[in-house]
């Protein structure tokens, strides 16, 4: 990362801006506006990687498998939950904190993945998506040859 003095602004502020730009370039959220399925809230995600794959995890308590739609296209992972807003009838609510209704989230993937090998597992309300990196994207050991 190169730190440039732009118009004499404080380097710390610039560093923060660089970081934001870098991170949003990697995993920014596309389609902030006009995405019809974004409900009143967006689920939080955790993302990590190893040499072979990117892993995306979300906590989706109460969501059933058939309410979930996961797709990988154009370097983006999209996760949609479509469910009716259910409300208990004839009861008195004392607390209403849990999410209801549909929501969606799109993540830009930092490397190419193999869409055919993407796997998703929903267990105990935790969704784990494994996106194997495409061959070209995997780290490769480069042999150093010394010449005489």
């Amino acid at each position: 990362m190169v730190f440039r003095q732009i118009g004499g602004r404080h380097p710390v502020a610039q560093m923060r801006q660089e970081m934001d730009r870098l991170l949003s370039g990697f995993l920014g959220n596309v389609a902030e506006s006009g995405w019809p399925l974004v409900g009143r809230s967006r689920p939080a995600v955790n993302v990590w990687e190893d040499a072979g794959a990117i892993y995306v995890e979300l906590e989706l308590p109460g969501v059933k498998k058939d309410e979930l739609e996961i797709a990988v296209a154009g370097g983006e992972l999209s996760i949609k939950v479509e469910r009716p807003e259910v409300e208990q009838k004839g009861v008195t609510y004392h607390r209403r904190e849990r999410g209801i209704g549909s929501f969606a989230r799109i993540l830009r993937l930092p490397v190419d993945v193999d869409p055919d090998k993407v796997e998703a597992e929903l267990v105990g309300g935790v969704l784990t998506i494994t996106l194997p990196k495409s061959e070209a994207a995997r780290p490769r050991k480069i042999e150093v040859v010394s010449s005489r």
Binding site: L23, R42, P43, V91, H94, G125, V126
Partner: protein
């Protein structure tokens, strides 16, 4: 990323240090609580808990839920994006209704814990006939 509206997990309020035998974060689960004529129902979001380690205690009118959650990644795992932490869930409620503690039932499915707290006989609404002369 300050403008994101992602759901943040609220940390639990003062958790007794003596209660936790291992260090780690403890979170306060979101709940829905509603009342029917004959019972109180509590639905708590506790994703990632295992059925064996969910503790439900009802004593002196206080309901306490404590669920142990096994860490899903190594402690020193580095993340590309980390918007939530993984840890135990704990929350207590004062229940003003008189509850038949012996008949409390609990189910855990899809990461949601559902508790049914039947009201004691004495508290159930009873229709009182009005005799008018």
């Amino acid at each position: 990323m300050a403008d994101e509206k992602s759901i943040a997990k609220p940390p639990a309020e003062e958790v007794d240090a003596t209660e936790l035998t291992r260090s780690g974060f403890c979170y306060r689960p979101s709940v829905d609580i509603f009342e029917r004529a004959d019972e109180l129902v509590v639905e708590a979001d506790i994703p990632g808990a295992t059925g064996d380690y969910i503790d439900i205690d009802f004593k002196d009118g206080t309901l306490t839920i404590h669920a142990k959650v096994k860490p899903r990644q190594a402690e020193k795992q580095e993340y590309l994006v980390r918007e939530y932490g993984v840890g135990d869930f704990r929350r207590s409620f004062h229940v003003s209704e008189a509850i038949d503690a012996g008949k409390i039932t609990a189910e855990y499915a899809d990461g949601v814990l559902t508790l049914h707290l039947p009201k004691s006989e004495a508290v159930k609404p009873r229709k009182i006939a009005v005799r008018a002369d």
